[in-house]
């Protein structure tokens, strides 16, 4: 392409005021660069804050998970619960499995069915009275403690309570 020749900086500011022109040039460069940096920085700050919008975990809600009468002491019972969960602008109807464990008296707790190793769903092995994870052989006891295998932590506890009479509520 036949671009016109580029005059060099010295050629552009001829005459005795060359020193002054160079001084002015430096001031203008500083002005342009700092304003561009300001604009870029400001936009980046706004857009960054926008993109990194902090995720607000939803408050747990008490969800009905069946009746105490349906439970057998010391045998975990799986319950699939439908919960409504806010996911950004979307209200998701999620299903989550929890195990209810009742000691036959007043104590009741609930365990998440999600294996703490890689997130597969554990099952209750009635014969062995153990939770087993089908993926990598993690084994937990009825309290959710790790018995063997790769899981690093016990199964997550889910808040649970008996509602007045006989209803069981868990907080999800």
């Amino acid at each position: 392409m036949d671009w016109p020749p580029f005059p060099c900086a010295a050629g552009m500011a001829p005459g005795s005021q060359k020193g002054f022109a160079m001084h002015r040039r430096r001031a203008l460069v500083l002005f342009v660069n700092s304003v561009v940096a300001l604009i870029g920085g400001g936009l980046s700050a706004i857009l960054g804050a926008f993109a990194l919008r902090p995720y607000k975990g939803a408050e747990g809600r008490w969800v009905r998970a069946g009746a105490l009468a349906d439970l057998t002491p010391h045998v975990p019972v799986a319950r699939v619960l439908a919960i409504s969960r806010q996911d950004g602008w979307y209200r998701e109807r999620a299903r989550e499995t929890v195990f209810l464990v009742w000691d036959g008296g007043k104590a009741l707790h609930a365990l998440s069915a999600t294996c703490t190793h890689l997130g597969c769903q554990v099952r209750w092995d009635v014969a062995a009275t153990r939770f087993r994870c089908p993926c990598h052989g993690g084994v937990f006891d009825a309290q959710g403690n790790v018995v063997s295998g790769p899981p690093p932590r016990p199964l997550a506890r889910v808040e649970a309570r008996v509602d007045g009479g006989e209803g069981v509520l868990v907080r999800l």
Binding site: F6, P7, V32, I39, L43, L47, F50, G88, W89
Partner: protein, 523 residues
């Protein structure tokens, strides 16, 4: 540091690129008028950036678009980013027009810069296409109805109007297929074309150099950087600060969710289409195509041909009275039409006046029906007045009758317990989706509830209700409180031929007094 740059220079030659990009020689006397192109570039960059970031959260489906936009503007950064994008479009149109005025006034379109002028016109068209397609995306009432009008205008295209409209609409009606289509145009096809055209425009601008001032000045050429760049930067800074002020002070409008069944909504275009909108009003009926296609077509054709219509060597506006005069007249016409369109815009009634009695009455009924059991801040659903419903009337009616049913339409709801209550609650919730509850006096709410439950079957108030009995909109001018109280309690005692049932047993004394007082207030 210097060694690192030297290494980079040896591998990439970036200093040459910087030299080629920034050290463009400019004719002496190039001044502030020539900053508009850079302002446009900066504004386009802001649009591209904010637009790209908006797609992080936006979902282009009718079920979710509105909710996702509401979600975006739910935080300060989101409001700012959408504000910059929204007002940036208006700033762009203004800057484009000013740039064009400068080019015409300085005769910069003349040989050898005809191709630069044409690429600039194409860019103008692209920007308008951007604003049209972007307008639909929030999927609110404004967006929906403006798009209905746009597609119907496209249908006026002589020969193949239906094909063009079908291409824009995607499906049988404006809906999911239209939204994804316009989204795709807005974020993929148009930006690709825009970037290509900008590159072309800039390459052409550099190829011929900028036209410079009308009369040549004495002196040497100066480099773009930093001499002209400083002017550009100063103007850009002022413009962007103004844009931030807009984005900060006036969050862009988001009306109720799109409601194709709403026959009361009056569509309004964005302000820079108001002139065109106004023009259509002067060509009613079968002449509409003249306003929609012929006049704008002639204007575009004249602009395209301008470099060949004005071939004289002089660029001085004083020596081109015909072109400058004609352009000024055209420009004044556009401004005048826009001003007329602005003046003619429908006045929005005060919020409270648009609420019908049934809608007001629905509020009390929704409270009495226990909607708040789930629709509360800590319930499983959003409070009714916090989140506008995006559902249609059939869904809402099904849900009100049987709240467990979260997918009405899949099965029949049980027989409605109280049809009028359901209708009133649905009316209330649908009104809420368009307008926040303005608040009414407790007596008005009581009266509205009674009217929506007992009177609406036979009596019209403000155009709503059955016609078996007399209209009550202005009944207060004829009768007084005592009369209403006696009549409603026991109609036959007042008029032996009355067909209206008595309400003494069905209304409490307080309710009776409230509805009688309300009717008296209807002068």
């Amino acid at each position: 540091m210097k060694r690192a740059f030297d290494w980079l220079q040896s591998r990439t030659g970036f200093r040459g690129a910087r030299h080629a990009l920034l050290d463009e020689p400019l004719p002496p006397g190039t001044g502030w008028f020539f900053t508009l192109g850079s302002v446009l570039l900066a504004l386009l960059a802001v649009q591209l950036l904010t637009g790209a970031f908006l797609t992080l959260y936006y979902a282009p489906t009718p079920d979710h678009a509105y909710d996702s936009v509401r979600f975006i503007i739910g935080t300060v950064p989101g409001r700012l980013v959408r504000g910059l994008h929204h007002y940036g479009a208006s700033f762009l149109v203004v800057a484009l027009v000013l740039h064009m005025v400068r080019v015409v006034a300085f005769g910069s379109y003349k040989a050898p810069r005809e191709a630069t002028w044409l690429s600039g016109l194409a860019l103008f068209g692209l920007v308008l296409a951007f604003s049209l397609t972007g307008y639909l995306l929030p999927w609110d009432q404004r967006a929906y109805w403006a798009t209905v009008v746009t597609i119907n205008i496209a249908r006026l295209t002589p020969l193949g109007g239906d094909v063009v409209a079908g291409l824009l609409q995607g499906g049988a009606a404006i809906g999911a297929l239209t939204l994804t289509r316009w989204y795709s145009f807005h974020v993929i096809f148009l930006p690709a074309g825009l970037v290509a055209l900008i590159v072309l425009h800039l390459v052409l601008m550099r190829r011929h150099g900028i036209s410079g001032p009308v009369r040549s000045h004495a002196g040497d050429a100066t480099a773009f950087y930093p001499w002209q760049a400083a002017r550009d930067t100063a103007v850009i800074a002022v413009v962007l600060v103004a844009l931030c002020v807009f984005a900060w002070n006036g969050p862009p409008p988001l009306e109720g969710p799109a409601d194709p069944s709403d026959s009361t909504y009056i569509p309004r275009p964005e302000w820079y289409f108001l002139g065109l909108f106004q023009l259509l009003k002067y060509f009613p009926g079968r002449w509409e195509v003249v306003g929609a296609m012929v006049v704008p077509g002639v204007v575009v054709a004249l602009l395209v041909l301008l470099p060949w219509l004005d071939r004289g060597p002089s660029r001085d506006p004083r020596r081109r009275p015909l072109v400058v005069g004609a352009f000024a007249v055209g420009f004044a016409a556009v401004v005048g039409l826009t001003a007329l369109g602005w003046r003619d815009r429908p006045q929005t009634a005060a919020a409270a006046q648009t609420w019908t009695l049934r809608e007001i009455g629905g509020r009390r009924m929704s409270q009495a029906s226990g909607c708040a059991k789930c629709h509360s801040p800590d319930g499983i659903a959003d409070p009714l007045e916090a989140a506008p419903s995006t559902r249609g009337p059939e869904w809402l009616a099904g849900h009100v009758v049987d709240p467990e049913m979260i997918a009405p339409g899949l099965r029949e709801p049980p027989a409605p317990a109280a049809e009028r209550e359901v209708a009133a609650i649905v009316a209330y919730v649908r009104k809420l989706s368009r307008q926040a509850y303005p608040g009414f006096a407790a007596e008005t709410e009581t009266a509205a509830t009674i009217y929506a439950r007992h009177c609406i079957g036979c009596h019209v108030i403000d155009g709503e209700g059955g016609k078996d009995g007399p209209e009550l909109s202005h009944i207060g001018a004829k009768r007084d409180l005592a009369y209403f109280t006696r009549l409603i309690a026991d109609p036959e005692a007042v008029n032996p031929d009355a067909e209206m049932p008595g309400f003494r047993s069905r209304l409490s004394d307080a309710d009776l007094k409230a509805i009688a007082a309300y009717l008296e207030s209807r002068k």
